[in-house]
Symmetry: C2
Subunit: 335 residues, 2 copies
């Protein structure tokens, strides 16, 4: 079978926006679009609206190739069941059989996982992890997500929820995470939100003059802190040094778990570049056993941030096995 003209649909469900695109095997996004997620209080209405926008696009793309299926990245996405379960940032509560619903509506096989796992599959298919069998993807954005690949396979665990490294405890008894109520988790320090908290704490506990004092607490964000650090601001630089230390210690633990070839970092926070990476690498190496030292590559994602979520979701389609490509027997795909 000639697979070269197969196409995959990638859908990334975010708390505010949903992005979608049609992607070929090379990772070119042939067409893309978006709609508001938060405008629909009922999941059925959302899927109807998605269908109205996306289905005509899929029909148009038919001239370029055959659509093989739909991949979806979603918060609290369960790969095994195709469900979105108790996602805190979505209107739709409880356990939503999202993949089945999309599959029914679009009459296409459908695969779903959480957004960080989708990012890992995307990186393995089109990005920095091509050819790698063992790597860890860490997404550093509003939250901290992760996807773990070992023996060439994503680790989903017994229930489909494996790889929640952002919620591992790095500082027992440390900073309270507002939504999980856990203390000292990686996410409470290394997310964009965590970085702002660190800056506020440091400003409160220091007499040092800082550019950051020109902003209200509510105005501070990781971009402002990065720009201040770039101008040489001592406190802003210390914020990234401290964040890198915590992240590096966490990465050392992850390395001793699955001994990856590389750790791939992705997300808004990595724009800080060496300000963050130097302390991260230093503290990762410092906390590794000798057998792991100076082996693990610490690299940035090669995917455009704007496209990565669509690409990651679409890559799930190439991973589909025959047993996954469930299509209701009485229905024949229209595309």
């Amino acid at each position: 079978m000639d697979i070269s003209n197969e196409l995959a649909v990638g859908i990334d469900i975010g708390g505010t926006n949903t992005k979608y695109g049609v992607v070929n095997h090379r990772g070119d996004i042939l067409v893309k679009g978006d709609l508001r997620t938060d405008a629909y209080t009922e999941v059925e209405d959302f899927i109807d609206a998605l269908y109205d926008k996306l289905h005509p696009v899929m029909l148009e793309q038919h001239e370029h190739g055959t659509i093989k299926g739909i991949g979806i990245g979603a918060p609290n996405g369960n790969y095994y069941k195709g469900t979105i379960e108790h996602a805190p940032n979505l209107h739709w509560k409880g356990v939503i059989p999202f993949a089945d619903m999309v599959s029914d509506k679009f009459e296409q096989p459908c695969s779903l996982t959480n957004d960080a796992n989708a990012a890992a599959v995307g990186e393995m298919t089109y990005g920095a992890a091509r050819g790698m069998k063992n790597f860890i993807m860490i997404t550093l954005g509003t939250g901290v997500g992760s996807g773990i690949v070992a023996n060439g396979q994503l680790i989903y665990g017994e229930d489909g929820f494996a790889g929640e490294l952002g919620h591992t405890i790095i500082r027992p008894g440390g900073r309270l995470h507002k939504s999980t109520r856990l203390r000292g988790s990686l996410e409470s320090y290394a997310s964009a939100t965590g970085i702002v908290s660190t800056a506020i704490e440091m400003l409160e506990n220091s007499n040092e003059k800082s550019l950051l004092s020109n902003y209200k607490k509510s105005e501070l964000n990781s971009k402002i802190i990065y720009e201040s650090a770039s101008k040489g601001d001592k406190i802003a630089k210390e914020v990234f040094r401290f964040t890198g230390q915590i992240l590096g210690e966490a990465l050392a633990n992850f390395v001793m778990f699955s001994s990856p070839e590389a750790i791939i970092l992705f997300g808004g926070v990595i724009k800080a570049g060496d300000l963050l990476m130097k302390p991260t690498r230093l503290h990762m190496e410092k906390n590794l056993l000798p057998i792991f030292k100076n082996k693990v590559k610490l690299i940035f994602s090669e995917l455009e941030e704007a496209d990565a979520a669509i690409l990651g979701a679409s890559a799930l389609v190439w991973e589909m096995k025959l047993s996954d490509t469930w299509v209701k027997p009485e229905k024949i795909p229209v595309i």
Copy 2:
């Protein structure tokens, strides 16, 4: 092919003693024996001595079945290369091509991994993890070892050294580990050695009367502490409560990594039973995200401690794929 009368040889290399046995598919050890590891400063001499004891036994067992191969569990064992690398507790320094040497001498295919990984394979083959696709094995003895199974496969990582969970940092800046020089690792608290250190620290920082004060520091061991706790000794009980807290916090992190069906505990330390398990379970659950709570079984190994290492090593043989069963082409197995 009838595999029911196949036999596997299991060899467990310890710092002091080496144990070996011939095992059938049901996990019965048909015959076993041992020799001193530390009596041989040269690895060649050790392998000669092992051959002189084990080879006649293998010939005798020929009447019960066909020996399929030899599995070896060894400290710092590298599954991919069959090497023992820089094992701190062995006389043989550097990188030893141990599996190749044994394979040459015995003219048998040979597979090697570290002792905790072998324990995990043993548990999956003969013990509490039969039928499980996702579990974590934690060995709590002089040290803390681990073997991680995900998607039905042991995670070896890029270099064959994955699964060093005993060396993950649970208390940053905490207790110094004498041999790794890392601070606050799980092993420095939850190993038998760590438990003794905790008892000594608690005795020094308390005015409480304790049965433990009847012993010299150098006499204290985890058995004495357990017996004192069983008699109601407050400090001894607190030692296990604290150890369980640290262990539970560590296990929560491991669950968020690979979301296993079960965590299986093995080794001398688990004799403390509920004294250790209750706080361990409590603090594990306390540190888990809601999606993981009350899901993960925390269970004890079902293998006899005396036999587990041999069984685990032997189980590697059943896992051998054709590509693993390397036999030098010019040699024909004598058995």
